[in-house]
Symmetry: C2
Subunit: 239 residues, 2 copies
């Protein structure tokens, strides 16, 4: 059954609306009505990206709107503990692949890190496009929660406000797998920092040491940013 995004604070969360109808508008309605040419009687799913999912039936289609009779609404808890991937964004297609795959793999939050050698500082427009992409990936993989996408932040400032960070570091001895298994066991959220392709600067490395950010390793290969991010997410999902 195809799934459609209802928008954020939407009325499928109201118990009253259980017996009611929902008016799907905007891009999602366009996709349903124009692209899929939905007819009354079609069963679809709606989700609000914050845990609420509904099964519904199309009862009327207008030019760019569809009326959905809600049949069943349920709530899915957010996955706990949650993984945040804080990463210096790669360029172009590699960035879109990364965002799509991280969402599919159930990553809770993505933070674009600014470091001395990072090459991409995504602007507002690009972030909005990436959010849309993440929303599509959510639908594809039937996630009930949208992947959060933060505003770009300097690595130093980020470390000030998140104390659960580990660092991906090819020279480290500790395995990320063990860190992930332990975090899941004690139900503690985890953030994995992934640096730019040019590596961290000396100042940044000193900062990690000073703040006692634990370094850990994924395997023997040299990985590109987006591959490292996906691998971290895969190991977390499996742990």
């Amino acid at each position: 059954m195809d799934r459609f995004y209802s928008g954020p604070g939407i009325s499928i969360v109201d118990q009253e609306s259980l017996s009611g109808q929902f008016l799907l508008q905007g891009d999602e309605a366009h996709h349903l009505v124009r692209v899929l040419r939905a007819k009354p009687g079609l069963r679809i799913e709606l989700f609000n990206g914050q845990g609420f999912v509904a099964e519904g039936e199309v009862v009327a289609v207008k030019k760019n709107e569809a009326v959905i009779q809600l049949l069943r609404v349920w709530f899915e808890e957010k996955d706990r503990p949650a993984l945040t991937v804080a990463v210096c964004f790669p360029k172009g297609d590699r960035l879109t692949t990364m965002i799509e795959k991280l969402c599919e793999l159930g990553v809770s939050r993505v933070v674009p890190l600014i470091s001395e050698r990072s090459v991409v500082d995504p602007g507002e427009g690009k972030l909005q496009r990436l959010e849309k992409l993440a929303m599509s990936a959510c639908k594809q993989s039937k996630r009930a929660w949208l992947m959060e996408m933060e505003s770009p932040v300097e690595i130093g400032a980020y470390l000030e406000k998140d104390e659960n960070c580990v660092l991906l570091d090819p020279r480290a001895k500790k395995r990320f797998l063990d860190v992930a298994v332990e975090s899941r066991r004690v139900q503690k959220d985890l953030t994995c920092l992934i640096g730019p392709e040019g590596g961290w600067s000396t100042g940044e490395l000193e900062m990690f040491e000073q703040k006692q950010v634990v370094g850990c390793v994924l395997g023997k290969s040299v990985l590109r940013i987006e591959t490292a991010a996906m691998a971290v997410a895969s190991v977390w999902a499996s742990a």
Copy 2:
């Protein structure tokens, strides 16, 4: 240091050639001479895709050739145990992303599976393009061994000749992580079968049961083919 592919049975494996020179030709020479505009004195690495790697210095450049003075040759053992990913290929960009990432993550061998519902049966030309892509990914991630790429094979025929298979199955209870950890512990090669997006047919599922192919699961998400393949490779690399 940039790495170049010397071709398969190349003379860098001869001890005699240690004091000798190597003539780089073809696409790789074109890249070195024309694209990177190498001058004599530049240090590069050569690898033959079968474990031999050499450090060398460019001593002469011609139109589409370069003479490399070999300075140091070493052999890297193949990673054991080895992971084979036998997968119904996805289409287009998703296929190229998959091949590139599997190579980066150190997968030993990729087998294109033909199943009743698979959509892509890669021809000779496409396989050659994918091999070239895998070779580039090898250089990027400094792998000394090329990722092997088999000819397409029917799932039934494949099961006849490979007895170390497990099956990715979202309904399974067993975790792929545990299978990977155990295989690595006992040093046994493993093949992971990944089905088409439309799922296996009833006949295929019966065959798996009859052959006692163990099903295992990656996480809670519904994953696309290429994401599942990369996740399997990531977990294996980390285990």
